[in-house]
Symmetry: C3
Subunit: 668 residues, 3 copies
């Protein structure tokens, strides 16, 4: 399970504990028919494995795994800690998750315990140890998944256990209460604390809490859930060499970079609608870089539509599922797995789309699953003999930035939407890109974007500065650098160390009114919007000027040469159609200046995933919008599936069509 993969997995989440042996037989038979070669099991099965406290019995799952292996189906085994059994919580409100309104959760759903409660931790350790011992040595064990979708349905817990840990965490971070008061600026509104024990959790107040409290409580919560995951991983490692992952997402209240630092490979789930394909591709470009050099897994996605009792997504059009699968394999995925194999007959997700229905028929997405399998086979050799080409352009994603924006959303800003929209422009322009983390290396990149990151840590600024000195172009902003690590405002200059490095002076930061503000850059005029920073460009050079509005005459975009490279400050957000054009123009301009070559001439809605191998460069081209598209081949190429040649120049693709074209090494 390294970036150099052995096979492409086509998988499904599987709940054999909910059905009988006859259905298990039928399921395995049907999986083989369908081409499913891996399943994930066990993640909600605690009450099956330990029906009464201390009565462990994992044998059913061992039996299933052996049977699957005998049929050449591998298994990802899960720990079941997302769904603690009734005996763990009944009569123990002190073990239960408390939400920010102060409500104590009840049994009957998921994630209803406080994952920081010591008794939960103890029981989680025990069940995991029993599973690891029994399953660790079985054949066909492809890997482990810890828990499931940590912090998906709950955000920060407000229970008494967390309160105590919160105080301990703060003490470790700030040492003395005076330092905390100073760092947080608690003098405002006489919030000033005398002892750590007085510091509240961010529950109900007449108006808002201080920003520092809100942000720090999120970071505390993220660190504790990482701690839990790493504890669990350590338990497994005593009994198994199989690699460990977690089924995560950028929607959850976790810091994925920290979480995966202690795990072995990356995996995530995605239920983005086909209208929002940018979110799907963003994920591929991000999770490829979460554990760099190691393939990632799509652990869950819908074969057609997702649903619960109270909501649903509309079904994918025929063809879209295959486009997702092919593009994700090409962008670095080792596995494309569905939720779920056989529809739940009960629970709150019973209407959710599946491969087989609850009564054993092929569900509406089934023929698309078969198409995925056909495609997987077609491209498997080509994909396995190549690896993804590192991009020259990198966009930084930060779960800490997500926390800062949750504390300070201005007007309902939403980090994930902001960054996905920003990212979508690279897709439209055909620029190959990596979405990287704050801690990622910048080696090999030419163009770096850090939008929407309120707080940029000094280590990152140092690394990005080195990148710039060495010839890279770093585009910082919008909404970047204006907060300290404690979520306060800098008092030396508006954007702190970033500003100094960028050679500008931040005159003011304020919300631009797009009805009244016009900016000009790269020969385009556009409304400006968003909470913005306005600059005096000295020694930097003004690139974008505000032409109308309260700050007219000032710069909203600047560039400044540093060493062989350049730092560009984008202080505002160009809006509307003209703004979109301006942003694309900016990206293209600096991509050209930075010498970015991985810039495919492709129509919007179609993507190119470049890979390389001993025989040359492979382009996996996929039409994602169902309208068909066009790409310009720079050289003659060979279709690795049909072995036909394709001449350089324009190539057309039909709706949801994919092509795998090799440019032989000698030609490059």
């Amino acid at each position: 399970m390294s970036m150099k993969q052995q096979k492409l997995y086509h998988g499904a989440c599987f709940y054999p504990e909910l059905w009988n042996e006859a259905v298990l037989e039928e399921d395995i038979h049907m999986m083989k028919e369908t081409g499913i070669n891996v399943v994930r099991i066990g993640e909600f099965a605690w009450s099956k494995m330990e029906p009464e406290e201390g009565c462990f019995d994992i044998s059913f799952f061992a039996h299933v795994i052996r049977k699957l292996a005998a049929n050449e189906i591998e298994t990802v085994m899960c720990t079941p800690t997302a769904t603690p059994p009734i005996w763990l919580t009944h009569g123990h409100p002190e073990r239960i998750h408390v939400n920010e309104k102060g409500e104590t959760m009840g049994h009957g759903s998921r994630q209803h315990v406080c994952t920081n409660h010591p008794y939960f931790r103890e029981r989680a350790r025990l069940i995991t140890e029993h599973i690891a011992k029994e399953i660790g040595g079985l054949p066909g064990l492809a890997g482990w998944q810890l828990d499931n979708e940590l912090k998906c349905h709950v955000s920060e817990c407000m229970c008494e256990t967390c309160k105590t840990l919160w105080h301990k965490w703060l003490k470790e971070r700030y040492q003395s209460i005076d330092r905390l008061n100073e760092a947080w600026g608690t003098g405002v509104w006489s919030v000033t604390y005398q002892t750590f024990e007085q510091i509240p959790q961010p529950g109900p107040t007449p108006f808002l809490h201080h920003s520092s409290l809100k942000t720090m409580y999120q970071l505390f919560s993220m660190e504790k859930i990482t701690e839990f995951a790493h504890e669990q991983a350590a338990v497994i490692r005593k009994h198994s060499d199989a690699p460990i992952t977690h089924n995560s997402s950028i929607m959850f209240g976790v810091n994925n970079e920290d979480l995966f630092s202690g795990l072995d490979f990356a995996s995530f789930d995605t239920y983005a609608s086909q209208e929002n394909r940018a979110a799907f591709l963003f994920n591929c470009d991000l999770w490829r870089n979460m554990k760099k050099g190691r393939a990632f897994w799509i652990m869950e996605t819908s074969p057609s539509y997702s649903a619960s009792l109270e909501s649903y997504a509309l079904p994918h059009e025929d063809g879209y599922l295959r486009a997702e699968a092919v593009s994700s394999y090409a962008l670095g995925s080792e596995a494309f797995c569905y939720w779920l194999w056989r529809q739940h007959r009960a629970g709150s997700e019973q209407p959710h789309g599946s491969i087989l229905s609850a009564w054993g028929e092929q569900d509406v997405g089934y023929r698309n699953v078969l198409e995925v399998e056909r495609a997987r086979k077609e491209i498997e050799d080509a994909v396995l003999s190549t690896v993804p080409v590192q991009a020259e352009t990198a966009v930084v994603y930060s779960d800490r930035a997500k926390a800062f924006l949750k504390t300070e959303p201005h007007r309902q800003l939403h980090y994930r939407s902001l960054i996905t929209d920003f990212y979508d422009r690279f897709l439209s322009l055909g620029i190959h890109r990596d979405v990287i983390l704050e801690g990622s290396t910048l080696a090999g990149y030419k163009l770096l974007f850090t939008p929407f990151i309120h707080y940029l840590p000094p280590e990152f600024i140092k690394k990005a500065s080195a990148f710039t000195e060495n010839g890279g172009i770093w585009i910082a902003g919008p909404l970047t650098g204006g907060r300290t690590e404690h979520h306060t405002i800098h008092t030396d200059c508006g954007l702190g160390p970033l500003e100094t490095y960028a050679g500008v002076k931040t005159l003011f930061t304020f919300p631009l009114d797009e009805r009244r503000t016009v900016g000009s850059a790269f020969g385009i005029k556009a409304p400006l919007s968003l909470w913005s920073a306005v600059f005096e460009a000295d020694p930097a050079e003004a690139v974008g000027i505000i032409e109308q509005g309260p700050a007219s005459g000032k710069a909203f975009m600047t560039e400044h040469k540093r060493g062989k490279g350049k730092i560009v400050m984008l202080g505002s957000m160009p809006a509307g159609e003209a703004g979109d054009m301006m942003l694309k123009k900016m990206i293209s301009h600096y991509a050209e200046e930075a010498g970015v070559t991985l810039n495919m001439n492709v129509t919007p809605g179609t993507i190119v995933a470049p890979r390389m191998g001993p025989d040359g460069t492979l382009w996996v081209i996929v039409n994602m919008d169902g309208k068909g598209g066009e790409v310009v081949l720079p050289y003659n190429a060979a279709d690795v599936i049909t072995n036909n040649r394709e001449a350089r120049g324009r190539l057309k693709l039909g709706p949801y069509q994919y092509r795998t074209l090799l440019f032989p090494a000698a030609r490059q």
Copy 2:
């Protein structure tokens, strides 16, 4: 008070306990002027009747009833259990209703007690016994109303008393915890219970509760409130022969079919706006069948507009009130009663429209009330000498289906709106219809509709099958049959026993995307929508085919001959204008095939209520939309008011006009 009625009542809800004796005199005088011949009293007067615990004094109401009777005004006497006095609740939070957020209600409104608390039940029994004894033998007692609008302002109670009863109820229903776990599929998410005592009430959780828990808790709550009503009825029956009803509605958290099974006649309230006249007429067609063969009462409706401190409906246009009254008398009502006689001077409903204002003047709707009275007198003989004609077409209404849809609303589906909209098409087509209950007999019907009933009980399927075998046409769906009695999904086939009977195979059920799905039936193409079932029609025949979308080529409508009749499966919901046409075409098509003759040629917005008597068939024709309308008379007829003849052929009606035309028996 049987279907063969003695008089038509014109009534009002009356609160003499809030005013003094002089006002009482004036009120009775004005009632006689106005034509009010029945009043309802007592339903919120507990603190007047038992001002301190154990100090009963019902004499005031006996006095009022005698005085009314002396003036030829009859009385419906109520039990006052909807508004327990302060002495019952003060200092006793354990007797109070707890809502689903866990909030304990306070005194000062209505329905703030837990109706399952044993002390409440005891006090309710006592006050009712005292009332029944004192009032049971009085002159002019037209009937009894139990409580008022049960479960109108509250839904399921989450208190500790209910928790205990819930566990008991589950034990009786499921016998063992293993059977419950199996029936509910609690293996999903390790919800598995070890004992009944562990099963929660459906309060706060991180995500949704299991469907079974949610639905069963609703059914439990409905059964308990029925139990309370039947307990109360038994107390009254010991002391009175007057018939007993409840003022109910399909909006409340009750199972009306069960509730009224133990009562003597049906009554309800309605405050539908004139734009929503379909809701008004739906009620008439439903409540006529709630106690078949016995006239129903409209116990409350607004003389012009409804209001509370925080909201109001706009006033009826002049003429609409009379149209409501005439149509309801014609459709089987024995009484048309207003809320309220004299406007409340205090409380939270003080702005509500009334017959007299708080200062004794005729309120804005008064002249319409006089018009109702004139019309009542005009039609009384004709109505009393006839009875409603049973329809040939029946639509099933089910409060259990309402509960299932509340648990699983897909995307905010609302049972009442769904079924009212569906029903409205029969109005537009001029088809005379009964809205019946799951337990109603199907004798005499030719065409049967069961839309939006997630769970169809086996007894119903058996009865409907017999109906079909005998020549009826049964149109099942959309959204019908896909759930078991426990709210789980069938595992043998998609729609369970219904599917088998219909001769189809359900391929998949999923949400249709009306932007992308087109179906074709009866020569009409229309978008399809809603959570749908898609069929392989074998041995049934495909009638509607999906032409575009993920399931294209499959059937969404099928028909299958069974005996002399036919079952039609409607798997999806045609949408938009074209969908409306398709549905109407489907209805007309099967109405014709089934030999439905009660199909009036009338313009939309005007209705015909057919009645029959010794002299022939009476058509009460009412223009309900204020635009006037037209009806085609199949024979010559006689106007029973003017005694003029009307020739067969087109007849015009003015805005809100009504006509009562008799087709002499010989002519039919």
Copy 3:
């Protein structure tokens, strides 16, 4: 600080306790540069002044005030009671504010204590005493501000302390429980209380509480907060002669008329957007009359935009801030103060606009602040040598009416919006107006408006009757007079004593449907809307007649001669553009009839503030809408800034321009 002022203040709110001595020096230097001549300090600094319970140290603020005074900057000193320190609340939930959902607030924001808790009152008294002693005698002390924005973030408190006080308050008001039951009409819904101790606070119930309970609890809360403020004022007065105010608003849960009756001068804050300039001007016209004969202060307004972590207003256009400042000085303000001087680096308002940013730069509004200062200097002499001319037209504002409408909002009616919209018509018509209080004298007025006042107290009716008898025209309504002091409905006639005086009979009150109701008055036909009263005009005369709708033929507007004057009843609200025309026509008509002469011929968006002095009448003319405007000068005038003459006739103003023109006394 009397209406005859000594200087015009230009000020800012200042938080020196959050910064160090070097920043203090810099701030004072910058204030002098900017022209800031007064600052407000201390209002959130309790933890600085008493960091541990009983350890008082006010010396820092004394030091700051002395330093400011040495630089000719005066100070408004605040008591810090809006932000109790952690030692006052930690471990003491019984001292904390409980909201209407029953949630107990936490530390970390503002107004989290119950201001009625005796221990809070005690600590508030002590801190205020210490401050008053130390600061009372300092140089440059312009005045005191008590607390800050009382009841801004919280409404009525539901804690146990308040419950006890509530019962005491009710006992004092109603003497016996029988009188309360009778007054409130608790017979409705058997709410009837046996003792005062049973009366709940208006927390959660299944449906609405009685109107009387809701309104009385608001009045109770308003009285208690006034009591707190007056207690605090008494503490200060023992140690200081400087005048006392509070920074209030009509948005908060206070009765400003009562509150300011015990204070020395009026001040308020406003953050109305420039689109809502009517709200800004309404405030000026109101607060000038809060303490009649004494100038008011604008204690807080934004120099450009307001913001918190979760929301923001868009920045003012250049020029608007100066228009605000000039118009407010002209309309009676002595001070125009910003929130805040230096941006907070921390807390929940860190993004809020300021004069200097957190890093010491001039913020985006700075150049507008300088423009204000230039204008202030230009107009200071002219303003100081004149006083505002009392208007001939008065509109009554009532915080009690606000409470009544909060209890009974019909359909989300909002008192502040209603009255601001009503008021805006006087602006459009160029009519000079005072917004007065229920207790204000009516001497000197010719035209009186009392819209949206559900309950009019007898003293007011008496006073307004005298006004009418003496020749005034009183226009009452819409929505006026229909409720008693207990929020019940009159039982003698619809609008109680007002109706009798107006010579009408209220036929009915009900919600008019503007789609179906048309009224006619002054030759204009318009839709009618709002909860309305419809009249039989006898002996009054009908002026407006309903021509279409349920009450057609009846009057919605009447007039009735009383003595030398007239009372006009406006029963309904003309709606839409035609309604706006009708209302303006009505105002103009009665203004003319009443002999109103302060009626300027000015285009909408531009205002004229008339002032008078020994040399004649001064018109301060300001274009507020940024579009420029026009005014007709009735005489030749002299520009008191340029000394140029302006001939009578049309005068044009550019966007946001202002002029100060004197009509010499001899010419009038």
